[in-house]
């Protein structure tokens, strides 16, 4: 185990426990909304973009606040977002290549 100090903790202000709790509540409510929306069959295909946006919002909240990307060095964000963008590109490239919805 390391005996190292965490440099990012020395200089950056991190959110309070209260904010972490509020974010957890938002994540729970958004998940409940996702499950609720799923049962609204009259939404038809609109369900896909709606769930996509809600899911992206949850992802961003966890990455920015819980993983501290909002407060840490930008290079960390670049490394993670770089991998994420590549992964997303691979998903969409394969979807179009294999014409999944045709």
């Amino acid at each position: 185990m390391s005996q190292e100090m965490n440099p990012s903790e020395v200089h950056n202000e991190h959110p309070t426990a209260g904010l972490y709790f509020r974010i957890a509540m938002i994540l729970s409510v958004v998940t409940a909304i996702e499950v609720g929306i799923f049962y609204l069959t009259w939404l038809g295909y609109w369900i896909i973009p709606i769930l996509f946006v809600l899911s992206a919002g949850k992802f961003a909240l966890v990455a920015m606040y819980y993983m501290h990307l909002k407060f840490d060095h930008k290079l960390f964000s670049l490394m993670f977002v770089g991998g994420f963008v590549l992964a997303t590109s691979v998903i969409f490239a394969l979807i179009f290549l294999f014409q999944v919805w045709l």
């Binding site: 390391s2 100090m5 990012s8 903790e9 991190h14 957890a24 998940t31 993670f80």
Partner: protein
């Protein structure tokens, strides 16, 4: 960056780096970036083979959204307890830190428990219905699950296509990795995620026990906890994507 470099050197805790950033933390972010691509390829494979299975069961036959919603909630809450553990450590409150760490590990284990239950129920899934009920649905143009339709055609109609009104269907319709393309891609994706969570639980418990050793985990030496927390939140964000793309989209009739 420059400030961090100076601060690092001042504390004399570890060697100065060219970026001024801690190498271990940099490595963790590089790993998480690469793990994004790993899960991205598994999700892409799942989506590409979505609806391409030649036989059932299909997602709509086996998924139980309320159960998976509860396990998703548990994993989200474990992320909160993880971040509260880290926050407690930064305040120097070791008692709260240990409580939150154990809570996180328990919730992680609970999530794994849900996954074991889910995998087990999928593999032993049974399909049972009254032929007359399905016939009524078909007559009214209502949606009939793929599995129900399969056994309806097979067992509810006689050689002349006449409905056996009193017939009852009760058949094993389990999903295993070798059953069809859905089973293979689903178990590979969620199985790898489950393995990540299991590793995370072991990591968290290791830190919890090490925290009793004097001077190993302290307010000043919090990097090990920070790295474990990053990993834990990562498995959470991956599940956020899996829950939407695999589970919710999977049982959506038009998908």
């Amino acid at each position: 960056m420059a400030q961090e470099h100076i601060a690092t050197a001042d504390h004399g805790e570890h060697e100065a780096t060219t970026t001024g950033l801690n190498h271990r933390k940099m490595l963790m972010w590089a790993f998480l970036g690469s793990d994004c691509m790993f899960f991205g390829s598994l999700i892409a494979t799942y989506l590409v083979y979505q609806g391409k299975s030649l036989s059932g069961p299909l997602p709509i036959d086996v998924f139980d959204i309320p159960v998976t919603s509860v396990s998703t909630f548990v994993l989200l809450m474990s992320s909160m307890s993880m971040v509260l553990a880290y926050s407690a450590l930064n305040r120097g409150n070791m008692k709260a830190f240990r409580i939150w760490m154990v809570s996180t590990a328990i919730m992680g284990s609970t999530f794994i428990g849900f996954q074991v239950y889910e995998f087990s129920s999928f593999s032993t899934h049974h399909i049972h219905f009254e032929c007359s009920e399905v016939a009524e649905k078909i007559e009214h143009g209502e949606y009939v699950k793929a599995g129900h339709n399969h056994f309806y055609q097979k067992e509810c109609l006689d050689q002349n296509g006449i409905l056996k009104a009193d017939h009852h269907v009760d058949e094993e319709y389990g999903l295993k990795p070798q059953t069809n393309l859905f089973g293979t891609t689903f178990f590979t994706l969620t199985g790898f995620h489950g393995a990540h969570v299991t590793l995370g639980v072991v990591w968290l418990l290791s830190i919890f026990f090490l925290s009793f050793k004097k001077g190993v985990i302290t307010r000043e030496k919090n990097l090990d906890v920070d790295l474990a927390a990053l990993y834990w939140h990562f498995v959470d964000v991956v599940w956020i994507v899996i829950f939407t793309v695999v589970y919710l989209f999977g049982v959506f009739e038009g998908f």
